[in-house]
Amino acid sequence: MGLNFSLLIVAALILAVFLGVEALGLSFLFGVIIPYLALATFIIGFILKVVKWAKAPVPFRITTTSGQQKSLPWIKDNKIDNPATTSWTMVRMALEVLFFRSLFKNTKAEMVDGKKLTYQWEKWLWLAGLVFHWSFLIVVVRHLRLFLEPVPAFVTLIGKVDGFFMVDLQNFYITGVLLLAAVTFLFIRRVLIPQVRYISLAADYFPLFVLMGIATTGILMKYFYRVDVVSIKELTVGLFSFNPVIPEGVSVLFYIHLFLVCTLISYLPFSKLMHMGGIFLSPTRNMPNNSRAERHINPWNYPVKVHTYAEYEDEFRDKMRAAGLPLDRDGAEDEAAATKE
C-alpha cells in the first residue's frame, strides 16, 4: 500500500515538472522559486525541529551500553562504549556518525528446525547504509563544482579521485553509481524481508523513491542524455549569488533532478530523514555515563514534604518501646546526655 502510494506520488511529481516546464514554460518557477522555498523550508524546519527537541529535558544517563562502566580502578572500563567523560562521548558519537558503529552490531534472529532460536551477525544493512551515506556525501561535495565559481581545490581533488576510472574517454564517477546501487539494495531489502516489509510505511518508501529518482536522473544527465552543463552552472551560480537567471537550452531532465532534490530537502525536517540532526541528540549516544561520579538532578523535581523514619521513630518512640518493638535509637543516650547537662 505504502509502496504503491509513494511510487505514485513520485511519478506525479516528475510528471508535474515535465508538464510544467515543457508545456507551460514554468522554468522560472521550477528553476528559481521552488529551490529558494525548498532551501528555506529545509533550514527553518530543521532549526525549529531541533529547538523543539531541545525543550525536552533528558536528565538521566541511559546506561544500557555494551561496555563496562567506569567504577573501581582495578576494573577495566570500556571508554568508547561506556564513556565517563565528554571527550570519550564525542569519540563514541563521531564513530557512530562516521561509521554507524551501533548498526555494525546488528543481529538477525532466526528459528532453526522450527524450535531453536539463533542469532546471526547481520552486516549487509550496515554495509549498504554506509556505502549509501558516504556516496551521498561525496556526490554532494562533488556537486560544488557546479555551484561555485571559482571551484575550491578540495572539490577538484575529490572529483579527480572519484573519477579515477575513465570510460569512453570521460570521467566515470564511482560514487554516483554506488549511491544508486545502495539505495536500490536498501529498497529491495525492505520489500523482500517479510518482517521489514510489514513495518514499512509510505514514509519509508517515499524517500527511497525520491533518492532513486535523483540518482537516476543525475546518471542519465551525465552519461546518456547529456545536458548543457555550462548553462546549468550559470543557473546554479545565479541562485547562489542571488542573481537568478534561466539560461536557454537547459534540459527538462535537469529540472526533474532539481525538483526531486527540492522535494527531498523540504520534506526532510518533517520526516524520518531528520535523523540527520537527531543522531546528535540521541540520549543513548550523547551522554557520558557518569551517574556514579556525579549527581544528576531531575529538572522537574519539586520540593516534596517527607517524613523520614528517624523522625517517625522520634515521634512514636515511647509507644514503640512500650510495645516492645525494635528501635534504631532507643533514646536512652539522649536522655542521659540531657540529664548530664
Binding site: 563544482r145 555551484f147 569512453d168
Partner: protein, 133 residues
C-alpha cells in the same frame, strides 16, 4: 525553555554555516558564463560558420562524439566522419580537425572546461596547437 542551549546553538550555527556557505561565497558576485572565442583563421575562412553537428549537439555531446571518433579510428580504422546534419565529410581527428578550426584552445575548450571544472587528459598525448607554434 531549551536544555543544553549552548551546545544546541553551536550545533545549529554549524548546520546553517554548512548549508549556506555557497551563498556566502557567491552572494553579489557577477555570474558570467565563459565567453567563447570563434576568432580563429580557419573559422574566419568558413562561409557558413557552423560546427560539425548542430551547436546544441556539440555543446552537450562533443565528449561522446570524440569518444566515438577514437573508437572508429583506433579500433575500426575508419577515419571519415559524415555529418548527420549536412552530409559533409570530416577527418576524424582531435588535433587535425577539432583543433584546426578551434585552434584557440585556451579561449575555447579550456574556457568552458575551467568553468565546469573538467580536465580532459587528452593533451598528455595529443598535441595542443600552442605546442606546435
Amino acid at each position: 525553555m531549551m536544555y543544553n542551549s549552548r551546545n544546541i546553538i553551536i550545533g545549529l550555527i554549524i548546520f546553517v554555516g554548512i548549508f549556506t556557505f555557497p551563498f556566502v561565497l557567491g552572494a553579489g558576485k557577477a555570474n558570467e558564463a565563459p565567453k567563447l572565442s570563434l576568432d580563429t583563421p580557419k573559422i574566419n575562412e568558413l562561409i557558413k560558420k557552423e560546427p560539425i553537428e548542430t551547436v546544441e549537439f556539440m555543446r552537450n555531446n562533443h565528449m561522446q562524439l570524440l569518444s566515438d571518433w577514437k573508437v572508429a579510428v583506433v579500433r575500426d580504422g575508419n577515419r571519415v566522419y559524415v555529418s548527420q546534419k549536412d552530409g559533409q565529410e570530416y577527418d576524424m581527428s582531435l588535433q587535425n580537425t577539432c583543433l584546426d578550426c578551434h585552434s584557440n584552445k585556451e579561449q575555447f575548450c579550456d574556457a568552458c572546461h575551467t568553468y565546469a571544472e573538467v580536465e580532459p587528459n587528452c593533451w598528455d598525448c595529443h598535441v595542443a596547437p600552442e605546442v606546435i607554434r
